[in-house]
Symmetry: D2
Subunit: 277 residues, 4 copies
């Protein structure tokens, strides 16, 4: 078990009354036990919270009339991941995939798996249909895609990333997800706090593949230890996992995101695969 | 209330054992009361059914080992749509949209609403934020897009349709959905049986927009009366609403889809807007 | 006749020996009589010049070994455009187009006219096949595309501009060119100095259409008077008209481009169409 | 020297008066000496011929008023290619590329080399900058792209081919050209008659790369012997090399293309690289 501290502060300048949905609080589920949570809105305003997915994701919605607005959130939580020996994990035969998992085989906005079938098959068909095939996808993405901010933008999907051979964490996740789906392996996007993220950034984007009856976590950027990731949203792809959705005219003037692992030692042995749900 | 008869027969030739998911049975919900339903599989095989959406959509999953396989489905159902006077229907303010409706504002595989914001705003901003704005979108799509089979393919999304100015029913739906989402109006895809479809085709694709607290049905192709549509699947877009998903090697050798309205008269007055859910 | 002064200064920092091709000198042709021309290279290096097109375009090529390099060019030239009464200008029938003009009907990297045929025909078919049709294209682009730096990038072509409804001068030109070609009107790209450019920018991009046996100049941005434009390059599209091509590793650290009309008065009556070649 | 016989017959049905440009006659240059040439137009009509490129390419232009039209062309020609030992062929340093060759480094409609730089560099940078690098490109394309008619269409460029991993001869050529240009090697498209094409098809599309001061011919499909190819058009890409350009409404009702090598033996030793110009 790890003790993790996370915090986000966002400052906005508004040109008109604006509605916001923020998705920056850790998901509530048995793996992430909140011990302390602090939310400061300035100005203070009534807000609504609601669940956004089946993994405990939650959002906060409110409307702001003032010229300036800031949200300042912090939490401490106990993280308890499940682990498995990866070499025991088979792909789940199609007929045994639970119906609720099936949509994660379909293409989505940023994961055009329908266009990558031939490439995926040519490149990964020879790997055993198990954990090893997902690991091969992750290795391939890590080795062939350069982490290079500025090469992609908000409308770039996996196909563009594969052509450009560069992107940021969400692009690495989208390409990995697309390749898994092309191979018949359900895969989904997770936005997260990532203690130890190197180089430091704000929110992190990783992905989960469905193997042996559970969702396991992968990160083709290899920029942060998986065992201390804190799940925020779980989604088809980043189109459903924005940290802030803005309806109106507001610009972000300041953004601070931090995450740190308060536990003195890494609690998960290397070589195990992590399940956060 | 209308009495509708629908039927589908699909014949496949298999090169290898193949798993199928069929989504061709009418959804089960209070608007569509099945009176009689017949399913013939040849060869007969055990199968599983499961729900696929919140509107009663259901799928049938099975694995076939033989060289030939056919599925022959027929049903008679009583259709009872809700209607409303369209001019009473406002857009729902963002803050009042139920959380489960919010994902239908996000872009999806074939509905890249994130790329069409400026076009949608320039073209439709001057219409009142209500039913009239959705009607303007539908009119625009009807007038500017040509119904022309062969111009798009399985990977074409709304952006391509808008550029090409041509497509088939699913393309008309995808473009309409994208424009609605760009304008802040939740919209989703419905695959359906369409009695009276002219020119005759197989399954039909239409869309629903969320107005005044309900989902209302629209069809920018104007190829079939909305009041006798039979809902099959309800989804983000066609990526989640295939009538047949095939895992293996099988080719469709014959396809027959039919739908007819057994009621002697149109039961919904022109000018009313239809809600199927 | 106008007297125009143009100047460009570019400073580079090099990480490795780098070859450059600069295309920033006014084209040499009977319409643009150079009166004085000044070129300072720092450090001074041998260079080669060569013609790049049939309109007098010229480039300068050299290799730099040092860490810093700057090119400082200035010229004064007498500009003598031809004019015509636009309403006398017909489209040239296809069979009478000179062979050397035919390539300007084909699609090119940033002008995917092959994809815009249906849109172009639907939108502009009703205009008379003459100057009026090109004018309609230019009006349409001016009215529907927003001048908004940052919305497009170096890989954006006309299709993307049409979808996004925004871009910069080269995007306005590419879309106009594409629509003309789709309509059977030869069109090409011109990079230019533009005295009076408002808002001030660096080089300008406009286009020419072939009408009545000559190339006439158009600018869908309406940001500068056409009668004082100084032609630099003439090309299929911006892919062939970069002001600087860099083979190696060099970054532009400073860029100054200026152009001014030294003549006291506008010498071309409004309403006439301009031919620079 | 080989003796080659080529023939094309095209039948059209017209809905309106239509102008045609046909590019199906072998180019006239010292490597291709026409011995006999036969052209039958039915109905017979006056036509114009003109040169289309610097390699002797020529086109035929005419307007047809009748309901049916056919063109029947046949020629016998003596083919004399130049050969070189490939391992003597260096890349030409950028500064020494003749100015007329430089445009073949720029991206074009179907060869978006500007988008493939990182991929090309990662994949081919370690090969020596010479013939070996072009050969590596050709091998890569041959091994990774499937020859599969129906996977691409008239608007597909190299990026789409690279994603899809499938295409036809023109797609193989476009991708090879794009990768060469990305690597700084000028490359261009050649449409040709291909005796021995296997599987038989109609016209063939190959490409040339500029090495050691000459253009050498490559074919990533490996479907026909290079030494008996007969050049028709030479162009930036297929956008400039259509065998028939149609202005009006006409449909091709029949098409026969044939090419055969009348010489009894292969006259070029394997392992030599071919220059047709």
């Amino acid at each position: 078990m790890s003790l993790i501290q996370v915090a986000t502060k966002l400052d906005y300048k508004l040109e008109s009354p604006t509605s916001f949905i923020f998705s920056l609080m850790p998901a509530l589920n048995p793996h992430q036990i909140i011990q302390q949570e602090n939310l400061i809105l300035n100005p203070y305003l009534p807000y609504e919270t609601f669940n956004t997915d089946n993994c405990g994701g939650r959002s906060l919605r409110l409307t702001v009339q003032s010229e300036f607005f800031s949200i300042d959130y912090a939490a401490t939580l106990a993280l308890q991941v499940n682990t498995a020996d990866p070499y025991t994990l088979p792909e789940t035969p199609y007929l045994q995939l639970p119906p609720e998992v099936l949509p994660y085989l379909n293409p989505s906005r940023y994961c055009e798996s329908d266009r990558l079938g031939r490439f995926a098959y040519k490149t990964f068909a020879n790997f055993p249909s198990s954990y090893a095939r997902v690991a091969a996808v992750v290795d391939w993405v890590y080795q062939h895609i350069e982490y290079l901010p500025g090469t992609t933008n908000a409308s770039s999907g996996a196909c563009e990333v594969l052509l450009q051979r560069a992107g940021v964490c969400r692009d690495f996740a989208h390409l990995s997800i697309s390749l898994c789906r092309s191979l018949g392996i359900p895969a989904r996007y997770v936005s997260a706090y990532a203690p130890g993220l190197e180089p430091p950034s704000d929110f992190h984007g990783v992905f989960e593949a469905y193997l042996g009856g559970h969702w396991y976590c992968f990160d083709a950027t290899r920029m942060a230890p998986l065992s201390s990731l804190v799940r925020i949203s779980t989604a088809r792809d980043a189109a459903d996992a924005s940290f802030a959705t803005i309806i109106g005219k507001a610009s972000l003037t300041n953004m601070q995101v931090s995450a740190s692992n308060l536990s003195s030692q890494e609690t998960v042995s290397a070589g195990l695969v992590i399940s956060m749900s």
